[in-house]
Symmetry: C2
Subunit: 383 residues, 2 copies
């Protein structure tokens, strides 16, 4: 294996050295003043990134834990839930609601399609409304970033609460929890927030917290009320992952110093650069060729190339970790993540490795122009 | 605040520098070979520490998450569960079972009492047996370590399954999952396993896994079957906390190099040293003065001393973090944790700080002999 590694997956993502250094600090007690200060600042910074005045609940878990908390706290068995699905993560959302006994209705798209607000409107009308609409902001399996603002407006117009899986989108693409009137927005530490995996966040609107309070408590670990009460006193209801929170605090500081708007602009330009390079090589994009596709670029693997072998070659020979397709896209696409601690030279490294690997695998591609195309797209386009 | 800090709480506990350094390694992808190797080795090492041939399921959560998984996977609503409670953590166990709708019977002790196998036998007889008996190995709120081997033998004799909260005991006091015939044993990373908080483990017997398989799935994140299936392929069902697992692997390596028997012996001697010093000062022990009390020593605060002010003085002036009592022991005891990355000079530091703080708070204590008594008890007694 090569000594130097490049992590270009849409989660986990590369972690800045300052954040890694924070992880290595001696552990402090979670009820002492050192940690309370970090915990409080971290919760405030999260709210700033989410653009919300409501609570952002923090759990020690993967993003899936955050998603499960939404279903467990907001949906009683038999409640009608409309899940908008267009890939692997939309399906996971819907499956969670089914597991909790909800009456799950679906608005299902082919993998790679972009959900339409008009179709959501029609579907809500057809099923007579829903208590909650489950949306996926960035469908990481396909690279599609949905227009959550427009979808949420439709759902709110039909008086449904809106829950959003923003695990891979928060901090990379525009997301405005309060002004979009979102009820529950789930994210995680290991994507655009530049921290190792292990923390999940859920921004919960006052309306959603009230709705949760009307249901019987189901479970303790992911209980919203208990978590909110603990956070209000900076006294976590269970022992939190103090090292990860200390690291997240540093990462959020870096992100907020850059500024959310600047970070969003950078991600738009990274997406453009990646797509420009892919197209310059003569490859076909699977994810949409539009500015919203700023999280991950899915590229069709040329006929005759073994995607799994290609990915292993990149990883084991070049140290470059891309990732293949999930579910029905397995073997058909490779995906390049470009969120978080990421700049244009990460794009050119990813493209260079892909170019070399594909060429040696016998694919007919244009050599020698992808890197320049990416650099030009990054440097010389306006957002 | 002093520059140098001493973390003497029974969780989180001090983390060795090698383990902190592992935390700061660049993040790797959780489905790549680098991480799979670490993940597999970590699971094997956990099984070695647990002394089990069955699965040890690993969750990204606090210990409470592991406890909740036991109730969610093993107990259906209405199932009869006998909870043996003698403190804060026993109550938490019982409360979880109530939250999940179990028919919870109790064998309740005063805080500080040690559960009796004969009384468990009688109580099981009285209630006509139970599906599951919930035990707390180390009741961290009181310092009492229960005789889980004897209690489990009684419960197994009555054909109950045995679930053990071993969060603060695993790695510090004897625990032999398979030969004691235990069904579910929960622990966490941040106690004797010398790793920051954020990981929970549950050793699950084949019998318990079979019993879980007969119940409907409740929840996804803590589902045993899904976790077991993922671990069998070294493919975690949700994104695991790769940094914490990498650190845990290093910590378990340190523990297994010392050897479990040696670690247990060291903890017995640390407990003796702490009690010898406390008694030499003329203070009264709250936790039992016996070798099993090897996790945390609870000391009665002398009349007239404000326990909260004492703890703040130790922490803010001396950098020494002890911890007070929980629940009904609040203000009445201070607790000195001595598990994990801990040696006799940590004991003497804790005792020295306590001696100074108490003396300045006006308590009448013997000065100048606690440290020597502790060193003698550590060095010159046989286990």
């Amino acid at each position: 294996m090569p000594e130097k590694r490049y992590l270009f997956t849409p989660g986990p993502t590369p972690v800045p050295p300052e954040v890694l250094a924070a992880l290595a600090q001696p552990v402090v007690h979670h009820r002492g003043p050192d940690f309370r200060k970090i915990y409080g600042r971290c919760l405030e910074r999260l709210a700033e990134v989410y653009r919300t005045d409501s609570d952002v609940l923090l759990f020690t878990s993967s993003g899936t834990g955050g998603l499960e908390s939404v279903v467990a706290n907001l949906c009683a068995p038999g409640d009608k839930v409309l899940a908008v699905t267009a890939g692997n993560f939309g399906e996971r959302w819907a499956g969670l609601a089914e597991l909790y006994g909800c009456d799950v209705q679906r608005l299902t798209y082919e993998w790679g399609e972009t959900p339409s607000p008009d179709e959501l409107d029609a579907r809500l009308d057809e099923i007579g409304g829903a208590k909650v609409v489950l949306l996926t902001h960035s469908e990481t399996s396909t690279g599609v970033v949905a227009d959550v603002q427009a979808l949420a407006a439709v759902a709110r117009g039909a008086r449904a609460m809106v829950a959003v899986d923003a695990v891979s989108s928060l901090g990379a693409v525009p997301l405005d929890t309060d002004s979009w009137d979102l009820d529950a927005v789930v994210s995680g530490s290991q994507k655009a927030l530049m921290t190792p995996p292990g923390l999940a966040f859920v921004a919960v609107s006052e309306r959603a917290m009230d709705a949760a309070s009307e249901l019987p408590v189901r479970g303790l670990y992911f209980d919203w009320r208990r978590t909110k009460a603990g956070q209000a006193k900076l006294d976590a209801p269970v022992t939190p992952a103090v090292s990860l929170i200390t690291a997240l605090d540093v990462a959020l500081g870096i992100l907020l110093e850059e500024g959310i708007d600047s970070a969003v602009e950078r991600h738009i330009r990274l997406g453009r650069a990646c797509r420009a390079g892919v197209k310059a090589m003569g490859l076909e994009l699977f994810s949409p060729d539009e500015d919203r596709s700023a999280v991950v670029t899915a590229v069709r693997v040329p006929e005759g190339v073994d995607a799994a072998a290609l990915l292993l070659d990149l990883r084991d020979r070049m140290g470059v970790q891309l990732i293949g397709g999930q579910g029905e896209l397995k073997g058909k696409v490779v995906r390049i993540g470009h969120i978080g601690y990421y700049d244009v030279f990460d794009i050119t490294t990813a493209l260079g490795a892909l170019e070399l690997g594909l060429s040696e695998a016998g694919a007919e591609i244009e050599r020698g122009i992808a890197v320049t195309a990416a650099l030009e797209a990054f440097e010389h386009t306006k957002v």
